[in-house]
Amino acid sequence: MNYLRPAGQGTMMNALGIKKAGAAGVVVLIYSAAVQAHDPVFGLGPHTLFKNATEVHLGFDPSRAGRNQQTRSTLEFAYGLTANWTARVELPYESREKGPDGTGDVGIATKYRFWRRDALGVQESSTAFLRVKPDTASAGRGTGSTDSILGLAYGYESRKWYRWAAARYRFNGETGEGLERGDKLLLDLVGGIRFKQTAYLEPDWVWMLELNGEITGRSKLKGVRVEDSGGREWFVSPGLMWTLRNFAIKTGVQLPLASDLNGNQEATDYRARLEFEWHR
C-alpha cells in the first residue's frame, strides 16, 4: 500500500497527515558533516587531530532535488583526545525554500585511527568512525529519529598524490509517527593531487575527484513498505582543499552520475559544500 502521494502533486501528505520529507530532505539530512581538512570534501577520510588540538569548523551545504532547495549550515567543534582519537560535536542549521528554518539534529561523532604507516613524505592510515544523531531538532527540522553511522576509512597521503576509500552504513531509527527511513550504505573512492609542492608556511592546494555512491533501503511506515523510497545514486565530485598553516578552506560539488530511485522520487540535481576550518 502506498501511503505517500508521488512528488509533484502538491503538498505531500501521507495517510497520517505527516509531511513527506522528500528525496532532497532525506538526502541532505544524511550529510555527515564530520569531515576534516585533508580528508575528502564529501567522503569520509582517516584524518585525526593531534593530541589536545581543538578545531572549529563552519560548513555550508546547499543542495537541490527537483523543486526542493535547501541549505544546511553546520558549526562543529572537535578535540584531539590523542593523536589517534578525535571527538566532535556538530550543530546544524537548516534553511529550506519551503518550510521554516531552524536548528537540525545535533550530531556527536568520534573517529579512531587504528593503523598508521609513516614514511618520508608519506602517511597511510585507517580509521573507524561512529556518529550518533539523536532527535534534538526544532519542529519541522531533523529526521525525527535517532540515527547512527558506522564507517571505515583508508587514506594515503604523500607530497604529491592522495587516495582515499571509505564505506559508511547509516542505521535509521523510527520516528514517533512510525516512519522508519531505509538504512543507507555510502561508498567513496577519491583521488587527489598536489600539483606544486610548496613550503610549510606557503599556501597549499590539493585538487580532488570523488566517486560517491549511496544505496538506500526502502522506508517503512508502521511496518508497511513505502513504494516511493529507496534506490541508488552515484555522484562524481570535483573538489579543492586550500590550506595555510592551521587554516583550511574546502569546497566541492556533487554532480549526479547515475540514479535508480524506486517509485516516483526526485533525484538530486546537485550538492555543494564550502567549509572553513581552523585548528590550534
Binding site: 585533508h38 593531534f50 593530541k51 609513516d118 608519506v122 602517511q123 607530497r159 610549510y200 598553516r245
Partner: protein, 98 residues
C-alpha cells in the same frame, strides 16, 4: 704564569658563549605529507619550555627545533612530542650553536 691563566680564562669564556647560544635539534620525521597536518608538530614544540623556534621542511622530512640556553631535550621527550603530533621520529641530532 699569566699565559696559562689567560688560556684557561679564554676557554671558560668560549664554553660559556657556546652554551649561551643554545642548541639546535635536527629531527628526521616520517609522515609529514601536508602542511595543515604538520602544524601539530610546530604547536607541540613551541609549547615546550625553552623552545624558541621551529622550522619544518616537508620535502626532506626535517624539523629543526632551536632551544635556548641550558635547555636540554631528551630523545624520549622528543619522541613523545612527535608521536602526540601524529608522526614518527626517525632520527635526532643535537648541535650546539657556536
Amino acid at each position: 704564569m699569566k699565559h696559562p691563566l689567560l688560556i684557561i680564562t679564554a676557554a671558560l669564556l668560549w664554553s660559556t658563549m657556546a652554551t649561551a647560544q643554545g642548541v639546535r635539534y635536527e629531527l628526521r620525521v616520517d609522515g609529514l605529507a601536508c602542511p595543515f597536518c604538520a602544524y601539530g608538530i610546530e604547536k607541540k614544540f613551541k609549547k615546550t619550555k625553552g623552545v624558541e623556534a621551529v622550522d619544518i621542511d616537508l620535502e626532506r622530512g626535517l624539523v629543526v627545533v632551536s632551544a635556548g640556553e641550558g635547555v636540554q631535550l631528551t630523545r624520549e621527550q622528543v619522541e613523545r612530542i612527535v608521536k602526540d603530533a601524529g608522526f614518527t621520529l626517525r632520527s635526532m641530532t643535537e648541535k650546539t650553536l657556536p
